[in-house]
């Protein structure tokens, strides 16, 4: 399905993550609807939830790019096992000293 179909905009059934949080779409947390009695939720179609989530990640990637040419991660640092500078770094997080 490439296009929009109204009948496909209803979000999937929720599953509970904890007392305050549920999940409908994979990896997308949502507030437990019972907490929104005073400030009502909107009828947000599926496409819009997915758009917001994708836009957030796009925005964060953009922000990294805005500040520097590249991003260095700890995983990259630790993957270079032959590097003599690696002294003392352990992936487990256990203090080495």
């Amino acid at each position: 399905m490439l296009g929009f179909l109204l009948s496909r905009q209803r979000p999937p059934e929720a599953r509970r993550i904890n007392d305050d949080v549920i999940m409908r779409f994979d990896h997308v947390y949502e507030v437990a609807p019972g907490k929104m009695d005073l400030f009502p939720q909107q009828d947000i179609p599926a496409w819009d939830t997915l758009r917001i989530v994708a836009s957030r990640w796009d925005h964060l990637a953009w922000m990294h790019d805005h500040w520097a040419d590249s991003v260095l991660g700890v995983e990259e640092l630790e993957s270079e096992a032959d590097d003599p500078d690696l002294d003392g770094i352990q992936a487990s997080g256990v203090p080495s000293g």
Partner: protein, 437 residues
Amino acid sequence: MTADAPYDPTSDGELQQEFVEQWRNAAYGCFSSGHKFCREVCPVMQVTRNENHTPTAFHANVVAMEQGAYGIADVAEDYVHCTQCGACELRCPNTLFTGDFYRNRTQTVKLVKAMRALAVDSGVEQPHWKRWIEATVDRRNEPVLEVPVEQERVRDWAEGLDLATGGETVLFVDCEAAFFRTSVARSTAQVLNAAGVEFGLMREQWCCGGPASEMGYTAHARNFAEHNVADWRAIGARRIITLDPHDYITFTEDYPTYFGAAYDFEILHITELVADLVRDGKLTFTQPIERVVTYHDPCRLNKRKGIHESPREILRAIPGLTFKDVDHVTQWSYCSGAGAGLAIEKPEITAEISRRRVTQAADLGVDALVSACVWSERPLSEQGAKLEQPLDVIDLMELVAQAAGVDGRGVTAVRSGGAVAGVRGGEASRGAPEALA
């Protein structure tokens, strides 16, 4: 404390009270943030730099109205200053960071439409919009300027193409494409034919009603929708292809609210379809296009729908083309200024937004700006033509038609400007509705 005469909250009657009641929570959602991350992405604010025109003010006014500080007549003109591009509501942290979590996001576009409707319903009308909508009702199609608009001529653009009427798949051709930039409509139809997509036209296509809805004329908008959906049902349509992002918004956001669950049409935008056809090998690009181009993300595709990949995928598939891209997040703050009636009521602001956009494109060293929104192409073309090194503005479907080896040029030179040469329209743009008088 102040020299202001006290505001009489009864003067606007129940309409305003109902409006405030409906929007007060949403207004506080913005008011209580106060961060204004919307301001610098707003294309209108980038030009006017007037805080009255910020999405923050658009929300805060509701709080002020709730306090009885002022009424719709005081603010109606401020709300003209919006293209409903959606940048503000997407960039708002209430949307971008928490909108999905709370199932509650900033809805500035909806608020602007509602405030404009309150104005119209309260008898506070903008003169140019009033005449535009009256003419649209009269002609069943928007009175796009410089060309004759009559219902009888709504499919003149298809002359000689031998297109069917009706069927499961319908191509909806926007007013600007049907009457003014006909090369977009012809290119689209011929590309679909070349890819073997079966489709027909409506028996009697009317304006989608989106512009009326955007300007606050809700009853008229609904009438257009009723007609079009009845036509779709009568011809057995199941799938509607849009070539204009504004229509795509109207059919996926306005129409569902009118018709509810009974609205069971698949709405498909042309860039999504064409990218899929290219991917599947059903549409092949045989003609190299030796040009250097950049792409203008139409606001209603990129910001409001998250559609930014398919146009890029298409451009990258065209042989010979040098594509200098500007990423779609940077383009959240770009616009042509053509949307939501701004060009009709404030053409000078539209022109300045477009001037900035073509200047940004020209700075990349390209010789053409490719858009996928027919409404953007007139103001962008006007400003592109004024540059020291004139810049062509091309519709993506015009480019696709050329690459696919089909002749997408419009029915007359005056009305189309040609597939790749770009339209060098007159100064009128959508403003100067004196022409309607």
